[in-house]
């Protein structure tokens, strides 16, 4: 128990003392995971909406795949993205392995199915009648889709939170494709693993506390936006 308390104190000390490294690591974590989440939204919202509004043969299979993808193990994603980005891999010429961009790519693969799946659920729960009504009132298909997305925006915030929460907290893929390189690809989760390995448990706990606080602040802000209308 004393160790955890020490770690919490250490977290504040590290942040307040302006320890450059901890701030850099924290900012990089945010930068990478925010970018990945935004890209996942760019992919997942259109894909989820499309899946919700269309009927085609094999749709059930696609939806099942998306739902499976929501639980994609990060370490598996990490392995495949690493092999893809190897110098001798399919995308080796891009020289992306062990860069923040590689981590964004891996996290995008993790977050996109989450956003897609939750968007699909959000749009689908809007009653069919509402859609028909819109069309009856003379809305074009594009207009109708836009209204539906707007209507589903609160549940979609949940998709945003789930996507961000999934990637900011994952360690397996970030470790593999980023390499945990100091000053370049070391993020909060991989730094925590490293410090634990070094036996610096207080620093590891401090990093964990910072990660928890950040995740809380981001979710708190998003929840505030989501719940504000309800009041």
């Amino acid at each position: 128990m004393g160790l955890i308390l020490d770690g919490v104190l250490q977290a504040f000390r590290l942040l307040l003392s302006g320890d450059g490294e901890v701030w850099r690591i924290t900012l990089l974590s945010l930068q990478i995971s925010a970018t990945a989440t935004l890209l996942a939204l760019a992919v997942g919202i259109p894909a989820g909406t499309l899946l919700a509004l269309t009927r085609f043969p094999g749709r059930g299979l696609v939806v099942s795949l998306v739902n499976t993808g929501m639980g994609l193990p990060p370490v598996v994603v990490g392995l495949f993205v690493t092999i893809l980005l190897w110098r001798n891999g399919l995308l080796g010429a891009l020289e992306l392995l062990y860069t923040p961009a590689a981590m964004v790519l891996a996290q995008l693969v993790i977050a996109a199915p989450i956003v897609t799946g939750l968007t699909l659920a959000a749009v689908q729960q809007i009653p069919e009648r509402f859609r028909l009504q819109l069309l009856a009132l003379g809305a074009s298909r594009v207009q109708m889709t836009w209204v539906l997305i707007k209507e589903a925006r609160l549940p979609m915030l949940a998709a945003l939170m789930a996507g961000f929460g999934g990637v900011i907290s994952e360690v397996g893929a970030s470790m593999m494709v980023g390499g945990n390189i100091r000053g370049s690809t070391r993020v909060l989760t991989t730094a925590t693993v490293l410090e634990t390995g070094k036996g610096n448990f207080d620093v590891a706990i401090a990093l964990s506390v910072i990660l928890l606080v950040i995740t809380f602040l981001v979710n708190w802000a998003l929840t505030w936006i989501q719940q504000r209308r309800r009041a």
């Binding site: 970018t35 890209l39 001798n88 995308l91 992306l96 923040p100 390499g179 370049s184 634990t196 036996g199």
Partner: protein
Amino acid sequence: MRPIGLVLLLALSALAAPTVPVTAQSRIVILSTTTSTQDSGLLDVLVPMFEKQSGLTVKTISVGTGQALALAARGEADVTLAHAPALEKKYVEDGRMRNRRLVMYNDFVVIGPEDDPARIKGLPKAADALKRIAVAGARFVSRGDKSGTHLLEQGLWKQAGIEPAAPWYLESGQGMGATLGIANDRRAYTITDRGTYLAFGKRLTLPILVEKDRPLLNIYSVMEVNPANGPRVNAAGGRALADFMLTSEVQAVIRAFGVERYGQALFVPIAGKKDEEF
């Protein structure tokens, strides 16, 4: 992947990593190495020194020695710093690694619970100690990850003529630090490099029981990757980093490393020496 995704990613990589231009491959050197060099903090000192002097960017990938060499053999690294002489020599014989040169050494120690149920304390031969541990069925935690430490441990079991197995033999599958933690918690014996052991300091209650046996010597070598291993191997960069490790300046840094923090040096520099001298 769609081309749009690629363009986006490229743009992103430029944004996110302004110091690492994607096209200038010869500016990047990938060093595959073992966790012990990273966990000791030595590379955090040496790598920035090298980057400053050479203008190159080093990507240090810290994995077990087995993986470090396997990556290098696939041309996924440019230079390797490892500590498994027998395995290294095999890679050099196969022609996948070149120009193996000794850099430094430290040593392994056998540690275990204070009450020492297998009664190995003070034995001169590590292999004899392992034999007693096996006979007593005392708990032993192995890295089990094909790291240099694990390979050395396997060599010792072979020497002892024992095939270690559960239930007393546990494989952690993790790095040295995590393995020490498990051994400490489970009151088990294990083999560790002295550097990591010192770094853990008072958090460990397991004393050193066997040390200073010749097979416990832990020799680190640097090897360059054969450019034939892959199309994008940066041979010149790998060579530069290997040469750098052997300069008298770096050897002096190695000699002094750890003295301030642990009261003793973690490594002994040995540039220019041969395996036969040990």
